[in-house]
């Protein structure tokens, strides 16, 4: 096992290397910025990655470029920033004190009132500014779905997202300067030949290869595997849990692989949700809405599809569609690898078919099959960045107008995401018609016994599940001419 003397975390901030050691590995980036560095511009609003007041931008080398993405600093453990660049709201002003175009736009559009959420909005817009030259309204809104503002109503902030492109490029943090060789070199200088290990309790290891990870996890089967930390972060900041040793998988090269081969899209366990959904939507365009409504950009930039799957929350939005698409999981323990259908992975609430020391290497998603009817829908109180009350997915293959195969799965309807075998059976072999669908609906109530909680009542969940199946039929049916989804009328005003 590779060890590094000192166990020191190093990252770039304002062109300088910041070194941190002797810190609990669960120290968050937000705590470090505010308490250690006195950079209090970044705020804590919720400590769970839901309000965005803590948003910062993280840069890392991706080939010849630096990839900059917004993340929530409140749930981001500091050691996961090792080797990266951190940009906080204090970083943006020019050396002469002039505001960055993003900041100027926010002032000129009257986009701050109480100002507490403002640094987070500035950083989300800054990430957009760095990543594209000009943005349409829906792209701006999408970039801001992880930031809550209670004062403005958002209109002036959205305006600022347009206006920020109207100013001359600033001396620092223009799109060009952000990719300067000086910045790339500074990041390269941080690359370590070995993997990071920190001794401070409870211990932290960041292996760089799958073999190393397998060895390490076999030696420490009680360690906690850490991916994006968008859930584990909350165990610390909200539940005040003491964690076991952490093994961070974000640096494992093999787990970052995203490739298509032999009719399968192979998504490495540490591929971010952002990248995973880009690849999925490219192949399954009907997943665009699920992709958009999954968390927020900072959550998707940090969180991983592998983490979403391995965490196994009953309300995770990826699992229903992965199940109906027949996704499998590649699991590894020591030298042994095996492949398991996703639907066999969940044994019960928070119980998974994982052996001690076994970890997820990749989620394997079959590529689209011609003629297959497929959709996934989510229902929540708020359109953006909300947790589903119900999330359903449907895949139907037809032969001669009859249902040759059908897979239906729901999240939010049981202790784990799961398929609807009785409803599937009620549809199998039947003509694909409204009548067949209506006849199959009662089976849903035998497939699921949902709970009542703060997101919805059991009765609503069952009704919504039935109606999502009805919507699936309507949407696929050529006879349907009237709109059956809000997306078809949004923006169409009388």
């Amino acid at each position: 096992m590779a060890q590094v003397a000192g166990g020191e975390i190093r990252f770039i901030l304002d062109g300088k290397t910041v070194r941190a050691s002797h810190l609990a590995p669960t120290t968050t980036l937000l705590q470090f910025l505010r308490d250690r560095l006195g950079r209090t511009g970044t705020k804590e609003g919720c400590a769970e990655g839901d309000c965005g007041a803590c948003t910062v931008v993280v840069g890392e080398l991706a080939g010849e470029r630096i990839r900059y993405r917004a993340v929530n600093s409140c749930i981001r453990f500091l050691p996961t920033l090792d080797g990266k660049e951190v940009v906080s709201v204090e970083s943006l002003k020019a050396p002469d004190g002039a505001l960055h175009p993003v900041q100027r736009a926010m002032v000129d559009c009257h986009a701050s009132q109480c100002g507490f959420c403002t640094p987070g909005f500035v950083m989300s817009l800054f990430a957009l500014y760095l990543n594209q030259d000009g943005a349409q309204r829906h792209q701006i809104v999408s970039a801001l779905t992880g930031n809550l503002c209670r004062c403005t109503g958002y209109r002036p902030i959205i305006d600022a997202g347009r206006r920020m492109y109207d100013y001359a490029p600033p001396p620092v943090w223009s799109r060009e300067e952000a990719q300067s060789s000086a910045r790339r070199n500074a990041l390269r200088a941080l690359e370590r030949g070995t993997s990071l290990a920190l001794d401070a309790a409870p211990g932290f290891h960041a292996p760089t290869g799958s073999d190393e990870l397998a060895r390490l996890y076999a030696e420490h089967p009680h360690a906690l595997l850490l991916g994006g930390g968008t859930d584990v972060g909350l165990w610390v900041t909200k539940q005040l849990r003491s964690l076991p040793m952490l093994i961070y998988i974000g640096n494992v090269v093999e787990l970052q692989v995203l490739r298509e081969a032999d009719g399968v899209l192979d998504i490495g366990a540490s591929v971010s949700l952002t990248d995973a959904y880009l690849a999925l939507v490219a192949r399954y365009p009907m997943l665009a809405e699920i992709a958009e409504r999954f968390g927020s950009p900072p959550v998707r930039n940090a969180g991983t599809l592998g983490g979403n799957v391995a965490n196994g929350s009953p309300i995770g939005d990826s699992m229903p569609f992965l199940m109906v698409l027949g996704a499998t999981l590649r699991l590894r323990r020591g030298e042994r690898r095996r492949e398991l259908p996703l639907e066999s992975f969940y044994l019960g609430y928070q119980k998974k078919a994982l052996e001690p020391g076994e970890f997820l290497e990749a989620v394997r998603v079959p590529l689209p099959r011609p003629g297959r009817l497929f959709a996934s829908y989510k229902v929540s109180k708020r359109f953006d960045q909300d947790i589903s009350a119900v999330c359903g997915a449907f895949a139907v293959d037809l032969e001669g107008g009859r249902v040759a195969s059908v897979r239906i799965a729901f999240g939010g309807m049981a202790a784990v995401p799961q398929r609807a075998p009785l409803t599937e059976a009620a549809l199998a072999g039947k003509p694909w018609s409204q009548q067949s669908v209506l006849a199959a609906l009662p089976a849903l109530e035998r497939d699921y016994t949902p709970l009542t909680d703060m997101r919805a009542s059991a009765g609503y969940r069952l009704l919504a599940a039935r109606n999502l199946l009805r919507r699936f039929f309507l949407e696929q049916d050529r006879a349907t001419v009237a709109p059956c989804k809000l997306e078809q009328v949004a923006g169409v005003v009388t």
Binding site: D50, G115, D384, L486
Partner: protein, 780 residues
């Protein structure tokens, strides 16, 4: 003074802190650097809704890592209370637990994390008692925090009996979490001679000062409370901050060390009060045009375990059940229900929105029953200008402009044409249904309690001609400091850069009122203007004397002072005045004229004037899931002569969307044991950027100076726009109604969550099915 003569006030200048907000340099209470010996505090909370504490074993807390001090009710040297009105809010509860989340003890530790960890280690045993959790249970049990009030005008029973039409209805209206982005925080720093400096995120520094002084048994002059800015308030930091400041102050007082108490988001949402949820029942009689002949109305609100501000909140609900409508024969019953839940408190609108929701539901029901456009029914009931203009609490509406606003908005939004189009589209669209609604707002401005309608300010002119302002109002994002600076700059005719506001501070301007009731700029703007005018007058007399011109020949204009034929830089004249020993600072004071209110009889003139507005909203809803989208909103809102159109537009838009959240996605959910399940943004959903509709046409009403002598004829703007969101609720109701038979009245509960919307649709299809059964039975 009219708009045209203003040069600095009335301009859409940026918020005075905008450049600090965007660069992260604006300092909030949590950002103030602490001395090295500072401690961090956390509170231990009850886990049951009602009962007695049998055992409170704090040894594990004391023994926890980093802990320096632990306090309970027994350690409070003075009054163990932070309640502003009835003194029924313990800082730490003694033996009696009255809601889940009630403060049992406080702990100070060397770090924030250690304090929070320690606070969870207490061993508590309870004797649990049956809990009353909601309004219906409280009504059944006769459980009230204050005695029920009845307001009666005319002969409602006779009017109801004689009315050509009569309907009964009910409505539940949910509460609302403030969700200011900055949670509650207080820093207490011991100073020399037993005095205390407190940085509190508060809308009411004076009340924090008083509560701390009472708790520590100190005279008020030993406690100084400062607040430069809040990260949002919305009423949630009116009475609530006192509890957290008292706990921090007690721990600081005992340990002699600075103590910061910052609630994490979950604790904040569990421990602090919210908007009152209401149950409304009505019995309304009306004629064929929909004009209301008689109305019996019951309002019942969930106040929680204590009175807090529930008396005045419910009074304001009572004063707003008329909205824009003349209610000649009315009986209004107001129940203030006591429940084993957190004590509800002020929230933007302060009961007014709930009162308006009640009457708007009745109006909508009338329109649906008569199968006429709800706007026609609204118009039929509007207050007249010269007649039918006395409110049910006896105040004459002297400034009615709702007719003009609704006329202009109805035309500019092409409401009638769009209503027809909505109906056409719905006829051909079985799944997606549209709805449209126009609703008006009339909101009374002033604190109902007359004594709070006063303010003070302090204006300093330094010898370089720069100006510093201090006043009793607090800055929570609403732009108060900006507006007051504009007022003072206008008076002196100085560039805004020469005028600066300093943090609100009980040591500078004392005995202040809460920055609340939308009154901030009305009160503090006038007080600051008075101070500036005092100084100006001294300068005028000095210059007139010195240069032997009549006082009328001394004019302040564009940074200069003209004295007869001479012109001086402002700073030049100021320096001369200083040398001549002219006092260059002044206090200013203002009290609102004309107002009076009798809380017992619920009558008087509680409001100096009214602010008006109206909105048209159009929605589409998915009848399969109950989800909806706001497609377009048109708003026309009255701010009198605006002090700052950019700030005012921000208040209108922000207030509107906050109201939309209240009535749609923001659902507070308690479990059967009274535990709040929605205590974080993961479960409590305020509007996000995508909820602002793509098509918005928001305008401030032009050429509409306040008829009353307010600061530069402006109007208050903080609260009224929130109620424009009632148009969204009624657009949803309209869309739901299109799923039923003509005349059907959807039972839509607020908030209109997807579940609530499907329930409303189901209520009509069930009602329709029943009707059909009856009809079929009749034929058979």
């Amino acid at each position: 003074m009219t708009q045209s003569t203003l040069t600095i006030a009335g301009q859409p200048v940026a918020h005075e802190s905008a450049h600090l907000h965007v660069s992260g340099e604006a300092v909030y209470a949590d950002d103030i650097p602490l001395p090295a010996d500072a401690l961090h505090a956390a509170l231990g909370m009850s886990t049951i809704a009602h009962g007695r504490v049998r055992v409170l074993d704090l040894e594990p807390v004391r023994a926890a890592a980093g802990v320096v001090d632990v306090v309970t009710a027994a350690d409070v040297p003075g009054e163990n209370n932070f309640g502003p009105v009835l003194h029924d809010d313990p800082i730490f509860t003694d033996a009696q637990v009255q809601f889940a989340g009630q403060s049992l003890f406080g702990v100070a530790a060397v770090s924030y994390e250690e304090a929070r960890r320690a606070a969870r280690l207490a061993r508590v045993e309870y004797e649990e008692l049956p809990a009353i959790l909601d309004v219906r249970q409280a009504l059944a049990a006769g459980s009230f925090v204050l005695p029920t009030q009845v307001l009666r005008r005319g002969d409602p029973q006779a009017a109801l009996a004689q009315a050509p039409h009569r309907l009964r209805g009910s409505l539940t209206i949910g509460g609302q979490e403030h969700f200011y982005l900055e949670g509650h925080v207080a820093v207490a720093i011991p100073q020399e001679d037993g005095t205390l400096l407190i940085h509190s995120s508060t809308q009411h520094p004076t009340e924090v000062q008083h509560a701390v002084a009472h708790a520590l048994r100190m005279p008020f002059h030993r406690v100084t409370v400062q607040c430069r800015r809040m990260g949002g308030g919305f009423g949630g930091k009116e009475s609530q901050p006192a509890q957290f400041a008292c706990a921090a102050a007690l721990l600081a007082h005992r340990t002699g060390r600075p103590v910061k108490l910052r609630l994490d988001r979950d604790a904040d949402m569990v421990m602090s009060g919210k908007r009152h949820d209401f149950l409304v029942e009505y019995d309304v009689g009306f004629d064929g045009q929909g004009r209301i002949r008689g109305l019996e109305l019951m309002l019942a609100s969930r106040c929680g375990y204590s009175a807090d501000l529930s008396g005045p909140v419910n009074d304001r609900a009572v004063c707003h059940v008329d909205n824009c409508y003349f209610l000649e024969h009315l009986q209004l019953t107001s129940h203030r229900c006591k429940t084993n839940t957190v004590s509800n408190t002020a929230f933007r609108g302060f009961g007014g929105p709930q009162g308006m929701m009640a009457i708007e539901a009745a109006i909508d029901d009338i329109a649906r029953h008569l199968q006429v456009d709800p706007v026609a029914v609204r118009r039929a009931n509007f207050y007249g200008v010269a007649e039918r203009n006395v409110t049910h609490y006896g105040m004459t509406v002297e400034d009615n402009i709702i007719h003009r606003i609704v006329d202009e908005l109805e035309a500019s939004s092409t409401y009638a044409e769009r209503r027809r189009r909505v109906e056409e589209l719905n006829a051909a669209s079985p799944v997606i249904k549209r709805g449209i609604a126009l609703t008006p707002v009339k909101f009374g401005i002033s604190f109902n309690a007359t004594q709070y309608n006063q303010a003070g300010a302090l204006v300093h002119v330094y010898t370089d001609g720069s100006v510093l302002i201090n006043h009793g109002g607090t800055e929570m994002g609403q732009g108060l400091y900006t507006k007051v600076a504009q007022v003072v700059a206008e008076e002196f005719q100085l560039d805004l850069a020469r005028v600066r506001s300093s943090a609100t501070d009980t040591a500078k301007v004392p005995n202040t009122s809460a920055t609340a009731a939308s009154s901030g700029s009305d009160l503090n703007g006038k007080a600051a203007q008075a101070a500036a005018r005092t100084i100006k007058e001294r300068l005028v007399h000095f210059a007139a004397d010195k240069y032997a011109v009549p006082t009328a020949a001394v004019r302040f204009e564009k940074g200069k002072v003209h004295v007869g034929e001479r012109a001086f830089e402002f700073a030049e004249l100021v320096l001369e005045a200083y040398a001549a020993r002219v006092c260059l600072w002044a206090g200013g004071y203002y009290r609102t004229p004309k107002i009076h209110w009798d809380r017992k009889t619920l009558s008087g003139r509680p409001f100096f004037y009214f602010a008006y507005g109206a909105a048209v909203s159009e929605v589409a809803l998915d009848t399969l899931t109950g989800e909806f989208r706001l497609l377009r909103v048109d708003i026309l809102h009255d701010v009198g002569t605006s002090l700052n159109p950019a700030v005012d537009l921000g208040q209108v838009e922000g207030g509107f969307l906050q109201g939309v959240g209240w009535l749609t996605s923001e659902e507070l959910w308690w479990d059967a044991r009274g535990q709040l399940g929605t205590h974080a943004p993961s479960t409590y959903k305020i509007p996000a950027a995508g909820d602002w509709p793509a098509d918005t046409r928001v305008r401030l009403l032009e050429r509409a100076p306040n008829v009353e002598d307010t600061i530069f004829r402006s109007k208050a703007v903080g609260e009224p726009p929130l109620m424009l969101a009632i148009s969204v609720f009624h657009a949803i109701r309209d869309a739901c109604a299109s799923c039923g038979e003509p005349g059907a009245r959807p039972a839509l509960a607020a908030p209109a969550t997807p579940e609530s919307i499907l329930n409303a649709i189901a209520s009509m299809t069930e009602a329709a099915a029943q009707l059909r059964q009856v009809a079929a039975g009749g034929r058979g």
